[in-house]
């Protein structure tokens, strides 16, 4: 049991960070506003979680424009995908270990 708990990634301890990763793993890329609507988070809160994930190289940020408005899109990196998948596996192990 200890072993499984240790395999959980501390970075994915937050509901919003888990949400961001879940959305990015099934979509090529998502922009800030769509993520915000999906997660029901405030701008500042979401931005700080995105920053953390970016610092760990789990997500890639691309700044672009739609007309004159900035349009920032996010996508998952290979490292991010690997880390998130093993986190999910660890969660599954915890469930399976108990009947």
């Amino acid at each position: 049991m200890r072993k499984e708990l240790d395999q959980l990634n501390k970075i994915f301890d937050s509901r919003i960070r888990i949400g961001i990763m879940s959305a990015l793993i099934v979509n090529e890329s998502i922009n800030f506003n769509d993520l915000k609507a999906l997660m029901d988070a405030t701008d500042g809160n979401l931005a700080s979680h995105l920053k953390t994930l970016e610092e760990h190289a789990f997500i890639r940020v691309e700044k672009g424009f739609v007309g004159r408005k900035t349009n920032t899109t996010y996508s998952i990196t290979a490292e991010g995908e690997t880390a998130f998948r093993s986190h999910i596996q660890a969660l599954e192990k915890i469930i399976k270990n108990l009947h």
Binding site: L5, I18, S22, L38, L91, I94
Partner: protein, 213 residues
């Protein structure tokens, strides 16, 4: 020992909850889950009404073979366009209403992808039908409409409730059969766009909407 068990149960429940959240976000971010069953029922009713009008206007019964008077084609075309606009508008309205009730956004990334994935095959099908009409070749307009519509639904099923694939398959099948009996086009049209939509809408309403209401 008891404490340890309690500790582990707590982790198990938490893990289950997190996994459920992950699945929910994956679904919500990649699929439009809020197409209302009423959208299908509405589209079907509009199609049946349009068929009724067309039926009354055709002198020689429901048979649109190669015998349609050219002057009448324009009227049929306008009727078909109006039907499409009214059916799509209604479908949007009912889904918008459902989304509002559930507090979800109607036009997210998934909805945009779905609309694009629908527009491309529909425009190609429309182009084909337009070419048939320009050549005054009326025999295969309805089968082509049904088949392209069916393929459109199958194509967009990855962006919404996957049940819509079944509706698509039945539309393709109806279109395939319509090729064999071009003189019954109006009947096939009424069945494909009317009856199938109503049946599908009712099944979806029963499966998803009723519980949520």
């Amino acid at each position: 020992m008891y404490l340890k068990a309690l500790f582990m149960t707590h982790h198990k429940e938490e893990s289950l909850q997190v996994l459920a959240d992950i699945k929910s976000i994956m679904d919500r971010s990649s699929r439009v889950l809020s197409l209302s069953g009423w959208s299908g029922i509405w589209a079907g009713l509009v199609a049946l009404l349009a068929t009724g009008i067309a039926y009354q206007k055709l002198d020689n019964g429901p048979f649109i073979g190669a015998r349609v008077p050219t002057a009448f084609i324009n009227e049929l075309l306008i009727l078909a366009m109006l039907t499409l606009v009214v059916a799509v508008a209604g479908a949007f309205y009912f889904s918008y209403r459902k989304n509002k009730k559930q507090g979800q956004v109607t036009f997210n990334a998934a909805a945009r992808k779905m609309i694009i994935s629908m527009c491309i095959p529909m425009l190609a099908g429309g182009w084909m039908c337009g070419a048939f009409l320009l050549n005054e070749d009326f025999a295969y307009v309805v089968p082509v409409m049904l088949i392209t519509y069916g393929l459109t639904l199958i194509n967009s099923s990855k962006y919404t409730i996957s049940d819509i694939r079944w509706l698509g398959l039945f539309e393709v099948l109806t279109g395939g059969l319509a090729f064999l009996k071009p003189e019954w086009q109006l009947y096939f049209w009424a069945f494909g766009f009317g009856a199938l939509h109503i049946i599908y809408g009712f099944i979806m309403w029963n499966k998803y909407d009723r519980k949520g209401a």
